[in-house]
Structure formats: structure tokens, C-alpha cells
Subunit: 327 residues, 2 copies
Amino acid sequence: MATIKQVAKRANVSVATVSRVMNKNGYVSAEAREAVEQAIADLNYAPNRVARSLFTKTSGLIGLIMPDITNPFFPQLARAIEDVANQHGYQVVLCNTDEQLEKEQGYLVALQTMHVDGLIITTNHSDNPNYEKLDLPMVALDRIVKSGIDAVISDGYEGGRLAADTLIASGATRLAHIAGPEQLQTVKRRTEGFVDVAGDRLIGMTHSNFTFKEALTAAQTLFDAHWPFDGLFAANDVIAAAVLQEAVRRHVRVPEDLQVIGYDGIELGEMTSPPLTTIAQPIYEMGRLATERLIDLIEKRDTETKEMLLPVTLTERQTTRGKGSGR
Amino acid sequence: MATIKQVAKRANVSVATVSRVMNKNGYVSAEAREAVEQAIADLNYAPNRVARSLFTKTSGLIGLIMPDITNPFFPQLARAIEDVANQHGYQVVLCNTDEQLEKEQGYLVALQTMHVDGLIITTNHSDNPNYEKLDLPMVALDRIVKSGIDAVISDGYEGGRLAADTLIASGATRLAHIAGPEQLQTVKRRTEGFVDVAGDRLIGMTHSNFTFKEALTAAQTLFDAHWPFDGLFAANDVIAAAVLQEAVRRHVRVPEDLQVIGYDGIELGEMTSPPLTTIAQPIYEMGRLATERLIDLIEKRDTETKEMLLPVTLTERQTTRGKGSGR
DNA sequence: GCTTGATATGTAACCGGTTACACATTATGA
DNA sequence: TCATAATGTGTAACCGGTTACATATCAAGC
């Protein structure tokens, strides 16, 4: 790797001049510029970002803190984030915390000592005090933070309502629900919206985390305790997929006997049999927005937004019967 | 953030001494060590990794180059890689190339200028000349590279054979296959193994890439052109899921009328209805191995392995009928 | 008592950039 | 014509670590 000194020597100028043409600032004569550009081309020079970092105290790195990239909701988010970051010349450092505070703490010091320029936090654990004292640009994604940290989330409450409305509109009268982990604010709202609209049509409910295995157990519990019901809303698509599988096993026909709606809009929903009707969050969009917001923060373009609540939409596939069909 | 100078001043020693206690090398008296440790604790000092990088020319960063984290095969790999990296004090930088050479090239210079210590390449595109002239420790994962680059792959050929054996053993006589993208060596081998064992029992075959949408089209094509068949091997689990969905739509019963086997062993296979029988690669293990190998390379512990071929196993779920059942 | 090696510590150069500052030189305008 | 501003370029300090080297002390060995 060539250094700036070598370039300077070859172009017969000082390192300052080379730096000036690289960064397009300061005065540089046409001849000098040309000589430098030639030398850069000849030597295939690319400035050492570590050296630059040391002086400028910026690294071009964004830390991405998520619970587990293996959870199918996160890859799309990660992809969106990485895309936007890359478009703006940033790289992203991936961190899986498993929601463990110590791991999170470890990543935080690592990221800080390597001078990441900002953080995107998709950890759902509420109120980690680590963040607030961090003094780094950051935005929370699919997560709510108490203090004044920017957040991008989807409208879970409306999503829950929409799920109930949809089920009811297509004839469901006995509703069931599998809620997500209780400590997740954003997920709780889905349940609240659903419950509010369902009213006393809600005849059964249980909880599950977001692993397929546990969701399957929850589905079984629900069927055992509350069957029959004709409309079910799951707190996310993984849980919905588990319900679908359990329904097949019990020879419950979907959507004829039971309509199912998930939440998230991940690709998994297209792959189930039948394909899953779901409340879709604009996942990629959320990642994009969060990252653009973060980069604005990093580069001090202070748009004053504080919390972005994105609308969800109904993606109607084949686990619901469509409006009016049941009336 | 405190600097080494501040620590030195507070401990009444020179920066060299502080550096010595941080790195546990050179001679340091017990008193000096204690004073320094106290100062470090007082100031909450953590060394600036950028500064250290500049001198040592190591960054503690590993570049992870993959086609698309959104493809459900990759998150588990990424997770394994990140886990192992983290255990050894490395961070990982995520890059999605979409198999585009220019994007790849862009990432490569970015990663190089930030002095990543090594690369893990899961891009399936063969023979990118960019890598060979790179002079960085690297290992290919699920990918075969011509030159002397280490590789970790699973035994696709045996996997293909195993799929055929399994299908035949449980009574299938008319076999079909959906192969993956032609340019992927590792995927091609699956087809070769399957074809070799199937012999003239193979009555129909088509191709697809790894998107669900295209897989669905391929499945339709296959059904239209070659139905009936009673055993199908798909080049990966996403394609198998598409086949399952298409089978449901055509009222083909799985596994009674048609047995299906996928390849990969991703979690998706548990979530389909019925759950998918598949040839499982040890995905996490592959990621772990590749990363450990890379770190050995980086830290100059030269274990001479060159290509690691991992065995695959049959994960029998409910899209096959089990041995002997069809006889 | 003197040599020698182990122990202990500080000074300063170095890594490869950026930029403040000094010092030209060349317009520009009154 | 001369003051002033705009333009062009180099030197050296600086970012925060690491480490070669110089120097000093002390104990062991003869």
C-alpha cells in the first residue's frame, strides 16, 4: 500500500498538497493537481483510513447492535442498514447481543474504542442504561428508549387493530391471540390494538417468545385450551407459521375453519402453506430511514425529528378469506 | 475518553510504562503496575484502537463478504462467524455484494484501507480475480476458489447421493430434481451426486436460483412438464419450500404422493407444513471452523489445512415416509 | 571490588494521515 | 504605484498509541 509520502515524492510536491487534492480543499494549482492525480493513479494510492481516523476522530463505521441476526426479522433490517450505510461511504459492524446486558456492554466499549461514528440499536430490551451515557449519535430501531434517543418503529397498535378488523370483517367471531414477549414495548402494542378491537370476541390468548419451537408449544396450548376459534392473530410471523403447522396437524383447515394473521411481513410468510396473511411493517424502509437519520446525526445535519412511527399495511394472502366472505 | 498520557500523568509514570502494563510485556515494578492500574480504573481508560492500529497495522476487524444476508442460509453463518470472532476479540464488518463484481471491488478497497485483519468470503461467484492479488488472510466459506485459498464446504456430492438413496429406500421410483444456479460449484455437486444415484429413475429436472419466487415458477414448470413423480430433491430448502407450496395447491399429498427432500438444514425447514426432510449442512459449525481457521491464519498459527469438507446428515422430518415404508 | 546480566523506566521516533501557520507569488483596486 | 487580497505550497505539529534505545539501579558471581 502506497503512502501519502510516496505519492508526494513522485508528484514532486509536499504531503500537504497531496492531502489537499485528495480532500478537495485549500488551493492547488492545476499543474500540481494533475501531477498528484497521475502519481495517485500510478501508485494505486488509497489513503489509509486508520491514519485519517486518528486525526479526524471519525471512522466511517456504524455499529449495528441486534439481538440475533438469526431471527428472521433482522436480516432485512440489516440489509437495509448496510445498503444505506454503504451508499454514504460507511461500513457496518455487526453485533449479536442475545439481549444479554454484559455482551451488550462489551460491544459498546469495543465499538467506542474503535471510534464508530454512530450506533443503530435494534435490541428490544428496554432501558439499558449503557446507552444514555454514551454520547454517540444513535437511533433505536423497532425499539423504544426512554431518554431522548431517536426511534423508528412501526405502528403496532394500529397493526393490532387492523388485524382484528380484518378478521372480524371476514366473518370471524371467536378470536384468539398469541402475544409476544411481555417486555417488548413495540410488540405489546400489537396486542393492545388487537384486544381493544376484539373486545369480548376474544376468547383465548397466550404468550410466546419468537422462537419457532416455543411458538409451537404455545400454539398447542392455545388449541388445547380454547379450540374452537375462527380467527387468530399472532404477534409475529414466526408464531403465525407455528400456528399454521399446528393447524395442519390437527386437520383444521385454514382459512375455512380458522383464519390466521401474522405480523412483520417477512419473506417466511410467502413460503408457508398456505401463504400467510400478515400485517406488514415496512421493514426495509424502517432500516433505511433509521440509517439515513443516523447519518444526518453523524454529519450534523440536524433534522429535528425524534420518533418516526411508520404505518403498517395488510398483506392479504391465503390464510384469510377476504372481506365480506364470511358474512 | 481518557488517553494514555493522562493515565501516565495520574500514575506518575511515563506512557511507556502504561503501555507496558496494558500489554503485559517488558519490565514493570509492582508499585508502578499498581499505580497504573489504579489510574486506569480511576479514569476508566480504554486504549484507542485506532491509534494502536496505526502502529501495529492490525485492526481487530474481520471483513465478511456475502451475497445477501437476506438469503436465509446466511444469517446462521454470519452468526457463527460473529460469535467466534467476538470470542477472540475481533469485530466483523458486514458486506452484501449481491454477487456484483464492482460492489465487491468497492468493499475490498474499503476493507483494505481500513486494514481489516482478514476476510471471510461466502460469495459463490467463482474466480473473482480480486481476491488473489489481495495478500490478506482469508478463507472461503461454502465456496471454492481456484488459487491456494483455504475453503470450508460441505459434501454436496454425498448430500445429493444421500437424498437419492433416501428417496429410493422409501419407495420412490420416479425422481425429479430442481437444481440451483449453474455457476455455483458447491451447488452443482449436489445435483451430480443426486443424478449419479438416481440413474434412469430421474424423469424430470429443471433449474432455479435461490429466490422463493423463481423457485415457485420452477416448481410449476416441473409439475407441468413431468408430473407424476414420487420423489423430489431440491438444491436447497427455499426451493423445497416452494415445491411444498405448489404441491398443496395442486392437491398433491406430501409425503403420500410425493416425497420431498431439501438441502441446507435452515430453520425454514421446521416451519413448513409439513416440516421438511432435508440434507443438513452443519451450518454453524462451518462458520465456526472458517472463522477459527481465519484467526489462526491472522495470528500466524499455521495449521496447514487447506480445504475442509464437512459431512452432511439427513434430517428426517415429515416430507419423506421413512426407510422401507414404500416397499 | 568489579564485571555482568536482570530489572526498571523514560525519551523520542514512528505509524500515515490532516491542517495551522509561515511564506511566497500573483492578481486587484484605488 | 502601492496596499491588500487571493492563490499556491511547504514545514512541522498533532492525533494516541508502541517500542527501540539509552540510561540507571541492583544483585549475583568471581
